[in-house]
Amino acid sequence: MNPPPHRILVLGLGNDILADDAVGLVAARSLRRHYPDEIEVVEAAESGLALLDFLEGRSHALLLDAILTGRHPAGTVLEFSRGDFDTALGTSSHYAGIPEVLGLAECLGVPVPTELCILAMEVEDLYCLREGLSVSVERALPDYVGRARQILDGWCRSPVGSGA
């Protein structure tokens, strides 16, 4: 039997051989060094329902991911919370992303974090197989990790038992 999961999860999502898609993983690795004990840091390349396996049983979760909307300069950090997705569910869902996973969890009574934050960095390149980040993304990395630490510091101070 596995031990119960840490209440606070950092989930770095991405692919480290797909250019800027690695940014969430790189940031997660850096956070692991800052929080050796009180937080669990997971790097994952999974999508859809697999995310439920990571989120189940946590009270707080911070997701780090790359996003490419073409509407912001590369390096811009976008922040989403659970509330941002309530309206997204139902528009189309033949693809299982975070909103669907949360919707499904709610439907099935699976405990998922009540405190959920997604920090997504706008990037340049998500389609070329290569190692290494674009310069714009590399430059924005310290601020990205800094924002993640602010959020995590707040969560670490919150009393155990808050959240789910």
């Binding site: 051989i17 390349a45 999974e46 859809g48 189309s92 033949h94 499904l104 197989l129 190692e131 290494g132």
Partner: protein, 507 residues
């Protein structure tokens, strides 16, 4: 490699790759590239009828350049990382390519373990499509209000207990895959000549129980499908409607008795009448499969090389073939396991005999394949050879070239590597499953657009019906997509006879 050198290397290869793409004279809508959207362009004539419709998806670049110079043994890890949706399929195709490259035959126990893991993966992936991705079309209903056409709508229709059962089975199957190979996405499982880990006899009862429960789960899924879909005459009418029918060739791996085999076998191709067109060892794929580039899409369109490219046409003049569940059941003469065989007979009888040309029948075929995958798991779990200790044959031959082929959930997946004598990659070619279906998918989108859009009138319901034409294949769009923005983005642009965009729908 040191960091500055690696960066210089990557930048040079990116440039070379971009140059190569330019030479292919592809024009790409910037939206497709920037936002990673699936894109459908519909061109209307002056009466508002559909003249042409194009379906475009983004594609990953730079695969071959990324691989050149790397050790062939890295390919199962590299390729399993290019797609977050079907890592196990890439891992297995790459592992088989390494067997071929080093001319090594894995011991029987290793082959059984690979087969077991692969069938578990097939079952898990198919279940995800049946219940979650494709479920909204059939379980909820193709013309249900759009706020219900999602995973929550599916659960409301089948019930919370069924939902829990799906999640639990999926998790157990993935745990078994992890037992043998570590992480599902970065598996350390297949090695040239065998596998990295055997099955401890003490863990066999757990595997047997899982296989037993998997058969129950697949049976139950077939029942859900029958109750919800097959008892509804309107669905059956939709499945068999001309809008979703294409008389093409079909391709899939078969065993010596022409039964579907997801892990091994020869490639069999049948024609639009169902007659066998070809049956060949996987190493001969280049003699049969060719790829065509069109100016409006990144995707390369596969066709049967000996017939030559004849355009996006079906019927006796076609050279287009399809892969995936519908195709696999068409190339098969029977199923490889008893309960799947029974389900297959019902399917063929209900749909008017073979070959079945109805694209939407893919959903039904997928459920039948779930049953075969689960029954095959049970056979293997009860095979005394599964717990053998000899799991690797050490390669000794000098490598040159290797081909590995499996049936991915989405169809025939081909890996082909050439190396120097040290085993460093010189050339790597992949034909991914969705590519095998790309021509037929394009035809499907165009035909459904023509059938459904008249006098320039387009609404959301019609849009969904057009999407259904490609969703049945469970296509894998842009392997990069994982969590955000949380839905498969799609843009449909409708253009009038002068080419002006008159309507744009986004979802």
């Amino acid at each position: 490699m040191q960091k500055p050198i690696r960066e210089a290397w990557n930048s040079a290869y990116t440039k070379a790759n971009e140059e190569y793409l330019r030479r292919r004279t592809i024009t790409i809508d910037p939206i497709t590239r920037l936002e990673g959207h699936g894109k459908i362009e519909i061109f209307l004539d002056d009466r508002g009828e559909v003249e042409r419709a194009y379906f475009q998806v983004p594609e990953l670049r730079g695969f071959e350049t990324f691989c050149i110079g790397r050790p062939a043994e890295d390919m199962p890890q590299i390729t399993s990382r290019i797609c977050g949706v079907c890592p196990t399929a890439h891992h297995m195709a790459a592992t088989k390519a390494l067997d071929d490259l080093y001319q090594v035959q894995p011991p029987p126990t290793a082959l059984k373990i690979r087969d077991l893991v692969y069938n578990a993966f097939m079952l898990e992936d198919h279940a995800l499509h049946v219940y979650i991705l494709g479920g909204p079309d059939f379980i909820v209903g193709p013309d249900a209000p759009k706020e219900l056409r999602n995973v929550v709508g599916v659960i409301q229709k089948v019930g919370v207990d069924v939902g829990k059962r799906v999640i639990a089975m999926r998790r157990r199957l993935r745990e078994m895959i992890s037992y043998f190979g570590g992480k599902v996405i970065h598996p350390v499982f297949g090695l040239p000549g065998g596998v990295s880990k055997g099955l401890a006899p003490a863990d066999l009862p757990g595997i047997k129980q899982l296989a037993h429960d998997a058969v129950d789960f697949a049976r139950f899924t077939l029942q859900v499908f029958k109750d919800v879909v097959l008892k509804n005459d309107r669905y059956l009418t939709l499945i068999t409607s001309d809008t979703y029918t294409h008389r093409t060739y079909y391709m899939g791996l078969v065993n010596g008795r022409n039964q579907p085999d997801f892990y091994a076998g020869k490639i069999r191709v049948v024609g639009p009448t169902g007659a066998e067109y070809a049956n060949f060892p996987t190493q001969h794929y280049l003699a049969y499969i060719s790829e065509r580039v069109e100016p409006w899409s990144y995707v390369k369109f596969c066709y049967l090389k000996p017939l030559g490219w004849k355009g996006f046409v079906d019927g006796p003049e076609s050279s287009v073939y399809a892969v995936a569940p519908l195709a696999r059941l068409n190339v098969a003469e029977s199923m490889a396991t008893p309960e799947a065989q029974k389900a297959y007979e019902e399917y063929i009888a209900a749909l008017g005999g073979k070959p079945v040309h109805y694209t939407l029948a893919n959903h039904w075929a997928r459920v039948i394949e779930m049953l075969q995958a689960a029954e095959r798991m049970r056979e293997l779990a009860n095979d005394p050879g599964l717990t053998g200790t000899e799991i690797r044959t050490i390669p000794t031959a000098t490598p040159k070239a290797g081909v590995g082929v499996v049936e991915a959930p989405r169809g025939t997946l081909i890996h082909h590597y050439e190396t120097d004598e040290r085993g460093l990659i010189r050339k790597a070619n992949l034909i991914v499953a969705t590519q095998g279906n790309s021509a037929r998918m394009a035809m499907g989108v165009e035909k459904s657009a023509k059938g459904l859009i008249h006098q320039g009138k387009v609404d959301d319901g019609l849009l969904n019906m057009i999407e259904m034409a490609f969703r049945a294949y469970d296509p894998c769009h842009g392997c990069a997509t994982h969590s955000l923005p949380g839905q498969m983005p799609l843009i449909v642009s409708i253009r009038d006879a002068s080419g002006r965009v008159v309507q744009e729908l986004r979802r």
